[in-house]
Symmetry: C2
Subunit: 436 residues, 2 copies
């Protein structure tokens, strides 16, 4: 009765982890989640499949080309490609049941049929927070968002990172003051500064037909540097007579003031006039976050303020502000760069190895440990003791206790620290104390 | 510039929750996860999309009809319909990197295009554990699985539930002793006993052409009742001379002995010879779990022992034992039956309401609270104070503190318990103590 064997493999562009990497990944995800919850964000879990007409209501653009269609029966269905569109649909749908400002976090998988290349994933986690107002939303919220980013990355173990902040109103107001009404193309080009360098930005702007006077003004503007307060001061000094510019500047100043109140240290946030964010979606404050020691990784957390979340699903005006962490990509990059390593991680604290005939006692001991909240596994298979120690070692389980006749008779157990190799003979009470 | 409004809605058969229900759902999911981890199960997270040739390697049956196909480019892809097939593929694929016995838990969504009816979901969470041996797996593992079920449902707040246990070898050995070689149909029919009643089982067996002597023997066998020890004793008394029967009986006896050692109380598990499990997949121990006060809900957690996990992906023999909780369905049923209610749940412990001009102070206070691990939200919008209290009320936030001039000057804050309505004027230190 031969069975045809299919080669076990997954699709290209999909991430799948071995157990110790998965533990590490989950640890990062849990840290993000608990930080989001600490600030009063509410959980959400929307279907991965949505009606195509809902998901693609906005239509057009790159998104539609990257969509995964789902087929079963006649309904036109697709996999979600971000967590923002489902949020917009959700808020419009449950509008009357939600309390505003509605603060939600969402950690979930999204799907994009991107070109297959290293470090690009077709299935990846996003970890988003958004604050949605009903009709209006105070600018102070734009200052709270960076404090959540700060708290999260700090707890993830990073010290040297910068949340770069800018304001789209400031940018388009400035361009308007130069006579440019539609600054979309300029913004898109300026946004590439980090990637392509200043010379190429100038070149691109020239190609777009802007004259050198204008380009010089743009270059002068984005080269305004200094401390956060200096930048604000220098922007004021420009004396630009444009309402939008001054509104953006006021917002930026208020965000800076409040970020400090929210406890974000000065070294962890910086006004940066070159941050524009490619998407036309943002209308005010914009953020990008960089790990200072690893600039090559690019922004690890981006977002901003938008005027209206759910234009395609409701007439209610729902302004919001939010950010997103591309978790799968971040994990991949941190691992590739050797910044995080999975070898130290185990959820299980202790492996109990029973000598022959002492499995009963081992099982009872395990229950005692678990009742004290200690994650415990009993090695239930027969075999050489060296193999069992090796098992603990391979799974990074930090402690092993051996249970046999001598141990039970004298209430003295061989208790080994697998990392240091140190072995003690101690009582069960002492073992529990050591493990807690 | 009118925008076409698309009605915000989700597909039928998909569950989506409002915030307080989502908090409750996550609480249940977290409890299941922490119990699984406590017993040394390792996390896994496989792609939701797999190659169809891999996912459907077994082929045939109901499964293939219910599959959701995914379309993007030329590859034949599908959404997973359970967590067992991806596990089989995973173990075969990473065989050399895994340590056996490999214990994994997996909590994730699966997809089945079932007929649309109340309480049936097309996207639903399964929460599985499995222990996979390399070549062999000790029967003691079959006793540990119920102890994980026990620990989990106990922590979920249930006291009166019964893990019903049987053994397929015992059943097919018994039928072989009666001259029936292929007992698949009998097992399937007997498995329906709970649903269709004894008379209909007899009728179905008659229709299948079994003679009345045989049917009487079957009915006699499945009516063996009593305490766990009595059932074992009565089965021994049958003196059946069939190797498979006696192997099954020995296993069942050993499982009963060890379940006790694992700390499962006698009232929470029961041998039940009518439990057969519909799937041909199981080869030894089988489990089903019932909430005694809500028999209508059916089994809330089922599983069993199988000879070989990954026949379709590897020649390695990988016996295993596992169970699955159908989390989405369980949540739906518990909510429908009024057994659980979401109204009490909030992650946020306290809402800080600043009086006008005291937002700065409120923000600083929030940081203090969060540093003490207290989940805190500041109400940042302007508006009437009654509206802000109402916000806390609607979100079930249990405590509110008001921050204004008087409060700051005297370090005495209005601190309200939103449930009891009790309001105290106390110092910040006292507030923190009350919240912790």
């Amino acid at each position: 009765m031969g069975v045809n064997i299919v080669k076990p493999s997954i699709l290209p562009g999909f991430m799948e982890l071995t157990p110790s990497n998965q533990i590490l990944f989950n640890k990062i995800m849990d840290t993000i989640r608990s930080n989001y919850e600490k600030f009063g964000f509410l959980p959400i879990d929307t279907p991965l499949i949505e009606k195509s007409e809902v998901l693609l209501a906005k239509g057009g653009g790159e998104t539609e080309k990257q969509i995964y269609k789902v087929v079963k029966g006649d309904t036109d269905m697709s996999l979600r490609f971000d967590l923002t569109v489902p949020l917009a649909r959700y808020v419009a749908q449950y509008y009357s049941e939600l309390s505003f400002p509605y603060r939600r976090y969402h950690i979930g998988k999204v799907y994009r049929g991107e070109r297959n290349q290293k470090g690009r994933f077709r299935e990846f986690y996003q970890a988003d927070i958004d604050i949605i107002g009903n009709g209006s939303l105070d600018i102070v919220n734009d200052a709270e968002i960076p404090s959540v980013i700060y708290s999260t990355f700090k707890e993830l173990g990073f010290d040297s990172f910068t949340i770069k902040i800018n304001n789209r109103k400031l940018l388009s107001g400035f361009f308007k003051s130069l006579g440019v009404e539609d600054s979309t193309n300029i913004l898109r080009t300026v946004d590439k500064l980090e990637k392509i360098g200043i010379d190429n930005v100038v070149k691109e702007l020239e190609e777009q037909g802007f004259d050198s006077k204008l380009i010089n003004a743009i270059m002068g503007f984005i080269s305004i540097k200094g401390t956060n307060d200096e930048i604000i001061k220098n922007l004021r000094k420009l004396n630009i007579n444009n309402e939008q510019f001054n509104e953006g500047l006021d917002e930026l100043q208020k965000v800076v003031e409040y970020i400090r109140l929210f406890g974000v240290p000065e070294e962890n946030f910086a006004l940066d006039l070159t941050i524009a964010r490619g998407l036309d979606y943002y209308t005010g404050t914009v953020y990008e976050t960089f790990l200072n020691d690893y600039p090559g990784i690019g922004s690890v957390c981006s977002g901003g303020r938008y005027d209206d979340l759910a234009t395609y699903y409701t007439k209610q005006k729902l302004p919001g502000v939010g950010i997103s962490i591309g978790l799968t990509r971040l994990f991949y990059q941190l691992t590739e760069a050797g910044i995080i390593r999975s070898t130290d991680y185990s959820l299980t604290k202790v492996l109990i190895i029973p000598m022959e005939g002492y499995i009963d006692y081992a099982i009872k001991t395990a229950s005692k440990f678990r009742n004290k909240g200690i994650f415990t596994q009993v090695y239930l298979e027969s075999g050489k003791i060296s193999k069992k120690f090796n098992y603990a070692d391979k799974l990074n389980i930090p402690f092993v206790i051996v249970v046999g006749q001598e141990e039970c008779d004298n209430n003295k157990y061989s208790f080994r620290n697998m990392k240091s190799g140190e072995q003690k003979t101690i009582s069960l009470g002492e073992v529990i104390e050591s493990l807690k």
